[in-house]
């Protein structure tokens, strides 16, 4: 970290660091509703903010687990002592996080819940959390069944264009069952939120708002001016038209 590296290498190294960290935390904290990580580099230390739905489990009793995670990260990436800090942040609306819902379906299926019940439950929960639309697809082949994709949808969903990148949260997870592996895909379309907290700030491009017509200002009636006598103006030599 003390060596001087070129800007290109630095950005690549940051990306690789984020990728490895995300992958590790995803595997480690899957049961605690892990939903993402954010890395903030300050001059004094590097702050890693873990977003999860069950922060209590991430912290552990008396902060034990998060201290363990901190030491793992510090040793693996050769951070000097006390230069890396891990924080756990609760996801404000887990119904709008595709990652959290995909993991939730995963555990429901592993626990032996029927497919229809698990997926309908998740779709209903997502719509109740205020999403505009939700789609859950479970694909795969189990022993003694034909390969198929089961799709559960509700609400409204867009598929193309930049709005699909702004509005849709998408997650893919694998569930390893005794009889085979299934893929879970969850797509959640958020509502437009001008404040930017629970959805994108920009409205959909085809949203047309028709404004109320403004009240017309009363146009003043012209007042006829009083008659003014016209006086002759002497024409000088310089006055040229």
């Amino acid at each position: 970290m003390a060596a001087i590296i070129s800007k290109k290498r630095k950005f690549v190294a940051d990306g690789v660091f984020y990728a490895e960290l995300n992958e590790f935390l995803q595997r480690e904290l899957a049961e605690d509703g892990y939903a993402g990580v954010e890395v903030r580099v300050t001059p004094a230390r590097t702050e890693i903010i873990i977003r999860a739905t069950r922060t209590q489990n991430v912290l552990g009793e008396k902060g034990r687990r998060i201290r363990e995670l901190t030491s793992i990260v510090q040793k693996r990436f050769n951070f000097p002592e006390n230069t890396v800090e891990l924080y756990a942040e609760r996801v404000n609306n887990r119904g709008l996080s595709a990652v959290a819902q995909a993991e939730s379906i995963r555990y429901k299926l592993l626990g032996g819940l029927a497919v229809r019940r698990a997926c309908y439950g998740v779709v209903r929960f997502v719509m109740e959390s205020g999403a505009k639309g939700c789609e859950v697809v479970i694909s795969g082949k189990l022993r003694a069944a034909r390969a198929k994709s089961m799709k559960f949808v509700d609400g409204f969903m867009i598929h193309s264009g930049q709005p699909s990148k702004d509005y849709i949260d998408f997650a893919v997870r694998h569930v390893l069952l005794r009889q085979g592996v299934l893929g879970i895909k969850v797509k959640i379309m958020q509502e437009w939120d001008p404040s930017g907290k629970t959805g994108p700030k920009k409205p959909l491009p085809d949203l047309v708002t028709i404004l109320e017509p403004k009240d017309d200002e009363p146009v003043p009636v012209p007042i006829p001016a009083a008659a003014v006598p016209v006086t002759a103006v002497p024409v000088t030599a310089e006055a040229v038209l």
Partner: protein, 247 residues
């Protein structure tokens, strides 16, 4: 026993050569077909529509669920005695499902079946270079389907049968369900319709409920309303399977 089988096969090959020669001389002597002759008439010039034997290698332990529905559908279409299930497990052979009465069930692979002329067996193989065509009806009596497992993408279980040296034909690029494959072969061979003139629908999305659909990643025959031709009872089976736990 093995020597006897070899002798049988040699006799069959000799018979095949003789019958091929006879066919060639017959074709030369046949009068020119009428210009208005349709594809059906050209495929079955002398005899009425020939009934093929459809042989399916069943590789799973039991016959139940969707495979039973598909076999039942096949049996209803090809007729009594024309559906042969080969290489089934011992338990199935001893106790075949009652709904499949009329299908011929055996634990042996097709090579060891008595009375089968192996040169008249066509293997349905996705890796073949030639498509199945109505002209094949004259040269073959059996069509063999192997490796039924329902994977997507297909796991190419047919390669085990490919090495046995059968003539091969493909049924198109997309994988079909077994019963669709049998029905399509029947349409091509017995009704004389070329493979590419049959209407298909690929990877249909079948509606199971108000907010629930299922995508079957296979090629099906297309019904006039645009829906895939599923075996009777398959829709209910799909609806019920969503109520089951997966573990």
């Amino acid at each position: 026993m093995k020597a006897l089988r070899e002798k049988n096969r040699a006799a069959q090959l000799a018979q095949m050569q003789r019958s091929q020669q006879a066919q060639q001389t017959q074709a030369a002597e046949q009068p020119q077909p009428e210009p208005a002759a349709s594809a059906e008439q050209a495929a079955a010039p002398q005899t009425p529509a020939k009934r093929f034997k459809y042989v399916v290698e069943h590789l799973e332990e039991e016959i139940e669920g969707w495979s039973e529905l598909e076999y039942r559908n096949m049996l209803a279409n090809v007729g009594h005695g024309n559906l042969w299930l080969s290489h089934v497990s011992e338990s199935v052979a001893r106790n075949p499902p009652a709904s499949l009465a009329g299908a011929v069930v055996s634990t042996n692979s097709i090579q060891t079946w008595e009375g089968v002329d192996l040169s008249r067996v066509l293997l349905a193989d996705p890796a073949a270079t030639q498509p199945l065509s109505p002209e094949d009806a004259g040269n073959y009596d059996y069509i063999l389907f192997g490796g039924i497992l329902g994977d997507d993408p297909p796991r190419d279980r047919t390669k085990e049968l490919r090495v046995m040296g059968f003539a091969t034909r493909h049924l198109g690029k997309e994988q079909m369900t077994t019963d669709t494959a049998v029905l399509v072969s029947q349409i091509v061979l017995e009704k004389g319709v070329p493979l590419d003139q049959i209407d298909y629908v690929d990877r249909p999305e079948i509606k199971l409920g108000r907010r629930e659909t299922v995508i079957m990643p296979f090629r099906y025959i297309r019904l006039p309303d645009g829906q895939p031709r599923l075996p009777p009872g398959m829709l209910e089976h799909l609806k019920r399977s969503n109520d089951l736990s997966l573990n």
